[in-house]
């Protein structure tokens, strides 16, 4: 039996509401099957199951409560012969509140950990760290949050009461149940919430009321992620003009032969060249986790997609370096379509290893993008413009794109970044090999 938990949902997306189940107890599930729908501040995500088995129990019901990443959502009995996934940590070890201060000296929580704990309402003084020197890791905070949530979920409460408790910051376990059969009602929550407000000293900071709507919640999520990035990541920026004359001539010739349904956009070509260039500079491709860089063997290329109603998402095209151009175009078309209709999958949001933003589509000549944590680099493409270039001493006018790279100085320096832009340029001069 294994726990099916709310998976990681991307940068600074530590919580989601469970919108619906697509399976029921007794159903057989297979690897990659979408079994639930959750909603973050940014999108409705389809959550995949990565095990083969039978749904034993749906632990939580859909509802408005925001669940932290790592929350146990269901129990799945693995099919015979199926290997259980390796456990990273024993939850009991991480969850046990220390009865006395731990004897071993431990490192103070880092700012990102304090930020995460604040975001999901965990008191760090009650969390024991399992990292080096007793350092509290993100996983420790999430496990502690799951324990807190488990306590809250056992309380019987109406959906409205849960939503209200969420808004007022009231722990349902603290509310006196005034409803039938021990049910906590909205009135009970309001009574406790009102008492707390009356007791709030005037100097205590009060959270401003949150604006309504998807656009507003998305803006908050972007603000959190970007503020985190600008605060924590020492960015460096590089830029190169890349001559696209050969590449666009080749692509136009290819497209002349294709029906409109198989047409390839220059954006797909830029993505493919980026994915291949990353093979040569793998230290730009991966994540900064718990104070160190973890490179990724796979290139899961995040694509920044702006939404017509405002805001943007950056889901991944998986194994982008292994796709041919036609496959890249199909993946890009599918991803943009689903992003704009708010139908993305949790794995697409959680595992980009680097992101590409193509602001040239909006007329911008040069983009200076901000790294999306925990990634360590982001690539920007500006508008393709006709510019004078020198070819063997002769002036000519060619289509040129301004490619930029923002890198994380904790992992790489400008020299490595420069090698990436050189590789990108070289690859785009040989479009037939993309």
């Amino acid at each position: 039996m294994i726990d099916f938990v709310l998976p990681s949902l991307g940068a600074d997306m530590d919580q989601a509401k469970l919108n619906s189940w697509l399976v029921k107890p007794g159903d057989t599930v297979h690897k990659g099957q979408i079994i639930a729908e959750v909603e973050t501040d940014k999108a409705v995500l389809e959550v995949e199951c990565w095990d083969e088995g039978v749904v034993e129990e749906l632990v939580l019901s859909p509802g408005p409560t925001r669940l932290p990443v790592g929350t146990v959502l269901a129990h799945i009995r693995l099919l015979e012969g199926a290997e259980p996934p390796p456990k990273q940590k024993e939850p009991e070890q991480a969850l046990a509140p220390p009865p006395i201060p731990p004897p071993a000296p431990h490192a103070a929580p880092t700012p990102p950990i304090r930020h995460l704990a604040h975001e999901i309402g965990v008191d760090l003084a009650r969390v024991s760290g399992t990292g080096p020197d007793g350092e509290i890791t993100r996983e420790d905070v999430r496990l502690a949050a799951t324990a807190l949530l488990g306590r809250e979920q056992r309380v019987k409460a109406s959906p409205f009461a849960r939503r209200l408790a969420d808004e007022l910051g009231v722990d349902l376990a603290d509310v006196h149940a005034g409803g039938p059969e021990g049910l906590v009602t909205a009135k009970d929550v309001q009574a406790l919430g009102a008492g707390r407000h009356a007791a709030t000293p005037p100097h205590t900071a009060v959270e401003p009321p949150e604006p309504e709507g998807k656009a507003a919640t998305m803006r908050r999520a972007i603000a959190r992620s970007m503020a985190h990035s600008k605060r924590e990541i020492p960015h460096y920026y590089l830029a190169s003009h890349i001559d696209l004359d050969r590449a666009l001539r080749w692509l136009t010739a290819q497209n002349e032969e294709r029906p409109i349904t198989e047409r390839i956009l220059p954006a797909a070509m830029l993505l493919k060249a980026t994915a291949l260039a990353l093979r040569e500079t793998p230290d730009l491709n991966g994540h900064w986790v718990d104070g160190g860089f973890t490179p990724s063997e796979a290139v899961h290329l995040g694509v920044a997609i702006s939404l017509r109603e405002g805001g943007l998402v950056a889901p991944a095209i998986h194994d982008a370096d292994r796709l041919d151009l036609a496959e890249m175009m199909t993946s890009l078309t599918d991803l943009v379509k689903r992003a704009r209709s708010w139908r993305l999958r949790s794995s697409e949001m959680s595992d980009p290893t680097i992101t590409v933003t193509n602001l040239g589509e909006r007329g911008v000549e040069t983009a200076f993008p901000v790294i999306i944590p925990p990634q360590v680099a982001i690539v920007g493409f500006g508008r393709i413009v006709d510019m004078p270039v020198a070819i063997e001493g002769q002036a000519a006018v060619h289509p040129v794109v301004h490619a930029t790279l923002a890198g994380d100085h904790r992992v790489t320096d400008g020299h490595r970044g420069g090698l990436f832009l050189d590789a990108l340029d070289r690859l785009l001069q040989e479009p037939e090999s993309l």
Binding site: T252, N255, E256, R258, P259, I260, T261, R263, L265, P266, A267, S306, R308, E309, L332, T333, V336, K337, E361, R362
Partner: protein
């Protein structure tokens, strides 16, 4: 297909790409991508939708005719049976 039928198809498909667009506010003779903030994917999807609705192919060399509503209407009317 006459002009009116072509216009209806064009705006119906456009509504799927950019639902907020009010047809009466669109200038039929100026660049659609700039007017409606369409990126290359929106633009391609719009032409794909028109192709699907009408069965009329839009070869690469004719794509520029779809930069305006007038150009698109003219192309569809002249290529319909």
């Amino acid at each position: 297909m006459n002009n009116e039928q072509a216009r209806q198809t064009i705006f119906r498909v456009l509504g799927e790409i950019a639902p907020e667009v009010e047809p009466s506010t669109v200038d039929d003779s100026s660049d659609l991508t700039e007017q409606l903030d369409l990126d290359s994917m929106d633009y391609l999807n719009w032409m794909l939708g028109i192709n699907e609705a009408t069965g009329i192919d839009i070869p690469q060399r004719e794509v520029s005719r779809f930069l305006t509503i007038d150009g698109a209407v003219e192309y569809l009317v002249s290529h319909s049976q």
